[in-house]
C-alpha cells in the first residue's frame, strides 16, 4: 500500500474516529476554530471596510496596513503570541484573525466601491441620509463581494488552523504534528486530506450562498 491508501484507511479506521481525540471531534474543533477566527475578523473588518467604502477615505492606509498584515508569517505570530500569552487557543486565534482580516476588509470596501456610482447618486438625490444610504443601498448591494472576501478568508484560515496544535490547542493539526513526531506519514497525510475535505465543503457552501445572494439582489 502507498501512503495515500494508507491515509484513507487511517481515516476510515473506526478506532481513529471516536472519542475526544478522534477524527470527528478534531474535525469539529478545527471547524470551530475556523468559524471563531472568521467571525472575530468580520467583527473587526466589516465595520472598518464599510467606513472606508462609504466615505471613500482611508483606503490607502487600509490597503497598506492589511498588505503588511498579510506578509506576517503566521507560524511566527503563533510562536510570538504563544510566548507572551502561553499555550492554548488564544495565540493561534490571534494569528488566524490577523490572517483573515485583510480579505474580509477588502471584500467589505470593494463591495461598496463596485456599486454603480449613479445608483448611489440617485439614492442621495432622493434624500437618503448617510446611514440610510449605507444600510439600504450600500450594504445589500455590496453583499456578493463581501461574501467573496469572507470566503477567501475562511479558506486561508481553515488551512492554517492546523497550526493551533503547534501550541497545544486541538484541531486537525494534532494528527499532523503527532504524525511528524512519530514518523507516521499516513496519519499526517490523513490530517491534510481531512483539511482539504472541509475546505471543499466550505467552498461549495460559499458558492451556493454567493449565487443565491446575487440572484436575490438582481445584481448578476
Amino acid at each position: 500500500m502507498n501512503y495515500f491508501t494508507e491515509a484513507i484507511a487511517w481515516i476510515l479506521d473506526p478506532a481513529n474516529a471516536e472519542g475526544s481525540g478522534g477524527v470527528w471531534a478534531r474535525s469539529a474543533e478545527h471547524l470551530w476554530y475556523t468559524l471563531l477566527a472568521v467571525l472575530l475578523a468580520s467583527v473587526i473588518a466589516i465595520p472598518l471596510g464599510y467606513l472606508v467604502g462609504h466615505t471613500g477615505r482611508g483606503r490607502g492606509l487600509v490597503v497598506a496596513s492589511t498588505g503588511a498584515a498579510r506578509a506576517l508569517p503566521t507560524l511566527g505570530v503563533v510562536t510570538l503570541v504563544g510566548l507572551i500569552l502561553g499555550i492554548g487557543l488564544v495565540a493561534p486565534l490571534v494569528a488566524l484573525v490577523l490572517l483573515a482580516v485583510p480579505s474580509v476588509l477588502a471584500g467589505a470596501y470593494a463591495g461598496i466601491e463596485a456599486i454603480d456610482p449613479r445608483t448611489i447618486d440617485a439614492a442621495r438625490a432622493m434624500g437618503m441620509s448617510d446611514w440610510q444610504l449605507l444600510t439600504r443601498v450600500e450594504i445589500p448591494l455590496g453583499l456578493p463581494l463581501l461574501l467573496g472576501g469572507v470566503r477567501s478568508a475562511t479558506l486561508q484560515v481553515v488551512a492554517t488552523a492546523t497550526l493551533a496544535a503547534y501550541v497545544g490547542a486541538g484541531g486537525l493539526g494534532r494528527f499532523l504534528f503527532l504524525g511528524l513526531k512519530t514518523q507516521d506519514y499516513p496519519q499526517m497525510l490523513a490530517s491534510a486530506l481531512l483539511v482539504v475535505l472541509i475546505a471543499l465543503i466550505l467552498e461549495a457552501l460559499f458558492e451556493i450562498a454567493e449565487r443565491v445572494t446575487a440572484r436575490r439582489l438582481h445584481v448578476v
Binding site: 449613479r118 445608483t119 447618486d121 440617485a122 442621495r124 438625490a125 432622493m126 437618503m128 445589500p140
Partner: protein
C-alpha cells in the same frame, strides 16, 4: 418659483463650471436648460437640491434660500429624475417608486397604493409592480424613474437628461407622456438636455447656455427660434446650417416640409387651400 441669484461654481483645480448665473424658473412651468455637454447645466440643476453647493451666489425656492435648508429634508421635497433612471437594482418596481414616501415615514400600505396610482399615471402596467429593474426595458425603467420622482408629490421636479439613454421612438413617447402629466399636475419642472428638439418640445421657457453656464438666450420656444439673440444661438438651433430652416416642397404625394439640405423633415398636415 426657483430663482438663481448670481451663482458661481468653481472647483479647487480652478475649473469654473458656472459663472455668475441668474435666472427665474416660474412656478407650474417647465424651464429647459439646454446646451452642449460641459456647459454647466447639470451643475445648475443640482444646485437646486444641494447635490452641489454654489461657491458664491444663492438659489431660492419661493422665499427660502436653499442653503438654509438641510440637504436631506430639502431633497425629499424635490423630485429628481436622472438619466438611466438610477433605480435601486435590488428593489422591486413598487418599492423603488415608494422610496421617498417610505423614507418620509408614510405607512407601507399607503405608499404602495400611491405607487400603483403613479404607475398608471406614467403609463406602466400595474402588473409590473413586483418586477425588478433588470426585468424592464430602458423606456419602462425611465417611466419608473419619473413615477419615483413624483411619489412624494413634490412641487418641484428636477430632470437631468431623463430620456437621453432611450431610442428616439421611446423618447418621443416619453416626451408626450411628460407633457400630458404636466398638463395634469402643473409642477415646477427644471429639465436639462443637450437636445434642442427636446427642449423645443417640452419647454415653456428655454434657456440656451454657453460655456460656464452663460445665458446665450432665455425665452419661449417661439422667441428663440424666431429671434435668435446671436450667432451662437442660431448655430446651436441649427439655423443657417439647414437644421431648422424649413421649406415647403410639392411632391406627387402631397406637400413635404424639407430642411435646408432638402431632406424631408415631415409633411404638411394642413396644406393651404389653393385659391380658386
Amino acid at each position: 418659483m426657483i430663482r438663481f441669484d448670481n451663482v458661481s461654481k468653481s472647483y479647487p483645480d480652478g475649473t469654473e463650471a458656472v459663472r455668475d448665473f441668474s435666472l427665474q424658473a416660474p412656478s407650474g412651468q417647465t424651464t429647459v436648460l439646454v446646451g452642449s455637454s460641459g456647459c454647466g447645466k447639470t451643475t445648475l440643476l443640482r444646485m437646486v437640491n444641494r447635490m452641489v453647493d454654489p461657491t458664491s451666489g444663492s438659489v431660492w425656492i419661493d422665499d427660502d434660500n436653499v442653503a438654509d435648508i438641510a440637504p436631506v429634508p430639502l431633497r425629499r421635497r424635490i423630485g429628481y429624475v436622472m438619466q438611466n433612471a438610477g433605480l435601486l437594482p435590488h428593489r422591486k418596481v413598487i418599492d423603488n417608486i415608494a422610496t421617498v414616501p417610505l423614507l418620509n415615514g408614510t405607512p407601507k400600505a399607503e405608499a404602495h397604493r400611491r405607487a400603483l396610482e403613479l404607475m398608471e399615471l406614467v403609463g406602466l402596467e400595474t402588473s409590473m409592480a413586483n418586477r425588478y429593474p433588470d426585468q424592464l426595458s430602458g423606456g419602462q425603467q425611465q417611466r419608473v424613474g419619473v413615477a419615483r420622482g413624483l411619489a412624494a408629490d413634490p412641487n418641484i421636479l428636477l430632470m437631468d437628461e431623463p430620456f437621453g439613454a432611450v431610442d428616439p421612438l421611446v423618447r418621443a413617447d416619453l416626451q408626450t407622456e411628460l407633457l400630458r402629466i404636466q398638463r395634469e399636475l402643473h409642477k415646477t419642472i427644471v429639465f436639462v438636455t443637450h437636445d434642442i428638439a427636446e427642449a423645443l418640445a417640452l419647454g415653456d421657457q428655454i434657456v440656451i447656455l454657453a460655456k460656464g453656464a452663460r445665458v446665450a438666450q432665455a425665452g419661449s420656444p417661439q422667441q428663440v427660434v424666431a429671434e435668435p439673440a446671436d450667432e451662437f444661438v442660431a448655430d446651436f438651433l441649427g439655423l443657417g446650417r439647414g437644421g431648422l430652416d424649413l421649406h415647403l416642397r410639392e411632391t406627387p404625394g402631397g406637400t413635404l416640409v424639407v430642411d435646408g439640405h432638402g431632406r424631408p423633415a415631415g409633411r404638411l398636415a394642413d396644406p393651404p387651400r389653393a385659391e380658386s
